[in-house]
C-alpha cells in the first residue's frame, strides 16, 4: 500500500491509544472514550488490526509477565511516522473542507 493512502478510523485511534502501552481491552475502552462513545471497536476487528500493525512493525508487543495472557502493545517509531503522515493528510482535508464550505455558508 502506498504511504499516501488513508488509515482506517480504527487504525488511527489504535495507534493514538498506543502512545501508552495498553492491552486489547484497554484500547477498546480508550477508543470509545476518545471518540465520545461514537466508535466502538469490535473484538474481532481489533484483533485483525493489531495483527496487521504488528506485521507492519507499526506497533510491538511488550514482553509481559509469563503468567499474564493479556499482551500489552505500544507504538513504534514507524507507527508514529505513519500517524504523523495521516495527521498531515487529515489537516489538508479539514483545511480544504473549511475553505470551501465556509465560502458556501457565508
Amino acid at each position: 500500500m502506498p504511504e499516501s493512502s488513508a488509515l482506517t478510523e480504527a487504525v488511527y485511534y489504535i495507534l493514538l491509544s498506543l502512545y501508552e502501552p495498553m492491552h486489547g481491552y484497554g484500547i477498546m475502552q480508550n477508543v470509545a472514550h476518545l471518540s465520545g462513545d461514537r466508535l466502538s471497536l469490535a473484538a474481532g476487528t481489533l484483533y485483525g488490526a493489531l495483527n496487521t500493525l504488528l506485521e507492519r512493525g507499526w506497533i510491538e508487543a511488550l514482553p509481559g509477565e509469563k503468567n499474564s495472557r493479556k499482551k500489552e502493545y505500544v507504538i513504534t517509531a514507524a507507527g508514529k511516522t505513519a500517524l504523523q503522515n495521516e495527521y498531515l493528510r487529515l489537516q489538508e482535508l479539514l483545511g480544504n473542507g473549511a475553505k470551501i464550505m465556509r465560502r458556501e455558508n457565508s
Binding site: 480504527a10 492491552h23 486489547g24 466502538s40 469490535a42 484483533y47
Partner: protein, 197 residues
Amino acid sequence: MKHIVRKFFSIGAFEEEEQWLNQMAAKGMILTGVGFCKYFFEEGTPGEYVYRLELLKNWPSHTESIAYISFLEDMGIEQVGSHLRWVYFRRKSTEGAFDIFSDIDSRISHYQRITRFSFVMSAMMAILAVVFFGEAGNFIFNHNPWIQSGFHDSFGYSIIFLAYGVMFTLFAALFPFVTRPIRASLRALLRERQIRE
C-alpha cells in the same frame, strides 16, 4: 432444565441462525453447546446473553485460533461451542451491543472466508462426482479383463457409481446455491467500501 433442539441451518444462513439463537436467549433459552444440527439449551435469565457466530480462519484447535479465542475472552466474550470451523460466541448483554466485526473491511473478509470455504467444499464434491462418473464410465464402456466376471456385476456397480456421481454433483451445486445471500451481502459491502470505510 436442559433441552436439545434439532435444527438445520445452511452455511449461507448463519445470520438467521444467530437471530434464532438470540430469540431463544431472549426467551430464557440459553445456548450452552452445539453439535451437528443439534443445539443444547439451558433455562436461564431471559435476555442475559447476545450470541454471535464466526467462521474462523483455522480449526478451533489451531494455535492461532486459540490465541484469538483467548483474546476475545479477555474482552468478556465466551466461546459456547464449535462445529467444524464455526465458533459460537456470547457476551453478557449488560456489556452493550455485541458484534465481532465493527468495520466494513473486517465484515468483508469474514464473508469472503465463508464463500471460500463453500467454494472449497463444492470443489471437493465436484472432484468426487467426476471420480464416480469416471468409474461408472469404466464399467459401462471399458471391458477391462478384471471386470469380465459377468455383465450383471459390472452393470450393478456402474449403477451404484452413477448414483454416487449424481449425489456428489448435487452436493457440489448445493454450496453455491445456499451461499447466494452471503455473496449478495458481500457485493453490497464491496460497493459500500467504494465510498466509505
